[in-house]
Structure formats: structure tokens, C-alpha cells
Amino acid sequence: MTAMLRAEGVSKAFGGVQALSDCTVEVEQGSITGLIGPNGSGKTTLFNTMTGYERIDAGEVYLGDRKITNLRPQRVFALGIGRTFQLTRIFPRLTVMENMLVAAQHTDAGRPRNPLARAGGRADRRRAADLLEFTGIAGHADAPAETLSYGQRKLLELSYVLVANPDIVLLDEPAGGVNPSLIQQLSARIRELNAAGKTFLIVEHNMEFVMSLCGQVTVLDYGTVVATGPPQIIRSNPRVLDAYLGLAEEEEDSDAPGR
């Protein structure tokens, strides 16, 4: 089976800092893949390069057989890769429902339509409402997004990425700074969506969350892949323990929201 999303030998430097060097990460179709590593190991940079938010110095990114290296973010999104951000990027002054509709309109791109028609057709609103119900924030649909709590913002960002119906969803620290009951809820939702056929790539510091959810885990350290495999193998890999797991407790503590 070929990987659905693949970063091959990706390198990226910011000035003198080599954020990624020769990274290869594969995400199998229908999997929940984890991407872990200490702070500064290049996880978010890898996300950014895969989704077009950052240009790559060397290497290629493939979606199936299609090369998507250095495509612009909207093209990557249109091809079916949705992502969230570590520091959630919602539209604070739009309502929760309006946030959903901004992402929903992408699905009818190319169809002729009346630009002055009311934002969000009935089908879009319905689907958005269903998804908000699904993630558990439907009660806030008409509230400005900035009134949501940190965890709810994460749920909103997940919801509006889902409304565009991507094939694969990249989540950047979905559980960071989120209270435990919401983490449970989030975890259950991801499992459900995965059962319905969505593929996930998740960056996360919360080990319990990653190890319980992911079938495959890739570990980054100083911009290189140090290990790849199922959680139980990763757990006992000495290089991983050395690079990361020994520090796991501290990492979680220092991972406060809002930087």
C-alpha cells in the first residue's frame, strides 16, 4: 500500500537554523498517524511545508501520486488536506457559524453563483450545524468566535476544517491547553471520523493522547526522523527515550496555551 500523504527528504532552513533535514514521513490512507518530538524538533515546520504555508528547500511532498511540493495553501486545501494550527486560527469577530461558512464555500468553488446571495446556502448551513453538533459547540453557533474558550476554539477550528470535507486532516497540537474532558471528547470524535474514513496526521505532546489514538508514530528530533513505528515499539525505542520520552513530563508542563 502506498502512502496517501508523503514527505520525502524534506529540508528546510531558517537562516542558519536547519529546522528540517532530509525528513521522510508517510501517512497511510485511513490511518491516524502521530508526529511527536521535543519542542523545536520541527513538527510544526513539517506541517507548514506539507500544507504550503512554508516553502521547502529540498525534497518533495506527495498526495497519492500527485506532487504537491510548494503549492499554495489554498491549492493544498482544495486538494483535500485540511489543517489546524497550534495557536488556533479562527476568525474572532465572525460568529461560530460564519467561521464554518468561510470554510464551507470552498466546496462549491467553480460553480456559478450569485455573489450577493446570502452567505451559506441551506445545505452548507445544515452541514455546518451538524458538524458543530458533532464537535459539541453547536450551542455557540451564533456567538462571536472570540467568546469561545481555548479548547472550544480548537474544536471550532477542527469543525471548520471538516466542513470542507478534506480526505486527510492535519492537527497541530489539538489537545494542547485543552481541559481533560474536552480531550476525551476530541479523541472520541477523531476516532469516529477515522472510522468513517478520514485520515489523520497529529502533532501532539500529550503522550497518552497520541499513544492511545495513533496506529503509527513518527518521532522527530532536531529536524530529523529518529524513529517510525507503532506506539508500543516507539515506547521502547532507546533513541526515542533518549530524545524525547525522558522529557515528556516537562514538555507537557511547559506547553501552556497562548505561548
Binding site: F91, V102, A103, L116, D130, T135, G136, E192, A195, G197
Partner: protein, 371 residues
Amino acid sequence: MSEAPRWRHLAEPAWRPGGALVVLAFFAVFPLVFTNATVTTIAVDTLIFAASAVAWNIFSGYSGYISLGQAVFFGTGAYTVAIAARAWHLTGETVFALLPLAGALAGLLAVPLGLIALRVRRHTFVVITIAYFFIAQLTATNLSVTGGSSGILAPSPNWAPETFNNPFYYIALALLVVTTAASWLIRRSRFGLQLRAIRDDEDRAAGLGVRAMPVKLTAFVISAFATGIAGGLWFYFIGQALPQFAFDPFFDLSVVVMAFLGGLGTIAGPILGALIIEPGQQWLTLQYTNEYLSEILLGILFLVVILFLPRGIIPTGAELIAKFRARLRQRRADAAGRPPVPGPAPGSAPTGTEAGTAGSEAGTATREARP
């Protein structure tokens, strides 16, 4: 962000057609009741500025790109009518037929100007729009077609003095109504949603498939079109186009303060701001025969608004009303000896069970929704 009050953007009150009709009826009969020429002159001016402020708000208020070069389009409209009326020897009511042309030329000019300025954001954008303004004013001063520094006189219609202002008044009112209707339509449309998404986070909006440049440019052109018509009407009303008044930095400042005072990005805000500021300015100028006094006061007012009312009257007012209602509800609940009624304010985490049952259905819905 989190320190912002909760009700902040529930603030735009629901559009009430009834209320709008009452206001419109008041405007419609105004010149029939107040026939004093001084009063109607101020009224025409106010309507022209209100329409300009609404037009400015369609672009700057919704997109968050604060343009200080709107006078470029106002002046373009003014000179378009001036030059065309002179060239084609138009007089009387026929001059009004040039207004769409004034709007069209202003809108056309907005295309190249927008393509350049909209590549940059925030302060850089503001500075570029100010530069546009100076270029336009200098051009008008130095070209022969615009009459240089002596400008162009408008044909003076030989209408009866007591109703002289009425055609101007009703055309200005029609312009205000149409511009406001456009503002309302745009705000609720997908186009308006894209504009407001750009205001909140342009890069993220682009990442979600919003084509930022065409969206911004369209709003810029629409805004310029309406402002150009306002400028053309203003020229015919004032009777002369001079570089320093057709391209007036004071115009830019006025529309910005009007929109900020009433409520940036709201539908009624710019109109409310214009209704407060423009008559006030005109009255001061007449009263003290000193133009600079009102300009100084406008500057002070701008500072006061930014300091104490940064979101404008309409959002702040709506918020106060919402708070007041919440307190009333609370008091009533206290009086009845019941625990306080929680308002619709968000903040509480939703319960897991509720979401859980709805979840499985939504999961299937998502899968089926795929085309």
C-alpha cells in the same frame, strides 16, 4: 482578544425594516417641512457625506483596510461631471445624468490603484492611499483639462430659489438609500463574509480558499463607484470644483471619523456618524465663520472616539442594552427567589452526552456529503 467583552459582536442589532422605513419617511418629508435654504443646504451636505461614509465602510469597514485616499474617488467624480458638463454644454437636470459616468470613472480608476495598494496591508496600505490622495490633488492642480488651480465652474440651474435644493436633496437621499442597501446586501452575502474573514485573518482565509485579491479589489471598486457619484453630485451642488476642495484631506478624515463614531463595519453606523458630525461642522462654520474651528474639533473628536468609544456608538450601545437586559433578567430572577437565569452567553463547556448522541449521525452525514 479574550479580554474583549462577551457580547461584542452580537452588537450589530438585527436589521429592522420597520425602523428603517420610519427613518426613511422622516428623510423623505424633511425638505417639505424645513424649507429654510440654510437648513436644506446642510441636509444635502449631510446626505452626501452619509453616502460617502457608507461607501467607505463597504470597503474599509468590512475588510479592515483603512483607506485615507477616498477623496481621490470623490474628486474624480466631481471633475468627471465638471469636465463632461462643460464639454457637452449640459445644464439643468441633464447634468444629473452624468452621475453614473462619475461613478464609473471613479470605479475604473480604483482598479489600478487597488491592484497596487492592496498588495500591502495595515500601515503601509494607509500610507499608499494617502500618497494617492496627494498625487490626485497635484494632478488636478497642474492639468489644463481640470482648469488648474482655478478649477471648473458648474452650470448654474435657474430653478426657483425656495425649492432649489430639493433635486440635490432627493438624489443624495436616493444615493444614500442605494448605498446602504448595497452595504446591507454585501454584509450578509458570501462576498461580505469573505471580506470580514479577510479582516480577521487574511492568510487563514486565503488558506481556506478565499481569493483575497479579487474580493478586496471588488469591494474597493464598489466603494469608489458610490463615492464617485457622491463627488459628482457634490460638485453640481457646490457649483465649483477646485483641486483643494474636490480632493480634500478633510473629506477623508470626515468619512473615517463618521464611520468610527457610528460603528466601523456596521450598516447604520456610518449614517449615524454622518448625521452627528456633518450638521455639527456646518453649524460651527456658519456660527463662528471660522472653518478651522470645526476642523480642530473634528480632530479632537477623533481622538475622543478612539480613546473612549473605539468600537463606535452602535456596537457599544447594543452592548450596553444587552448588559442592561441581562441585569434586568437577573434582578427579576432574584426577586422571584430563583437561582439566576443563565443568559445565552457562551463559555460553559458543552456536556459530553449531548454531543455524543448527535455525533454518530453527524459522522454519517459527513461521509455522505462527499460528492
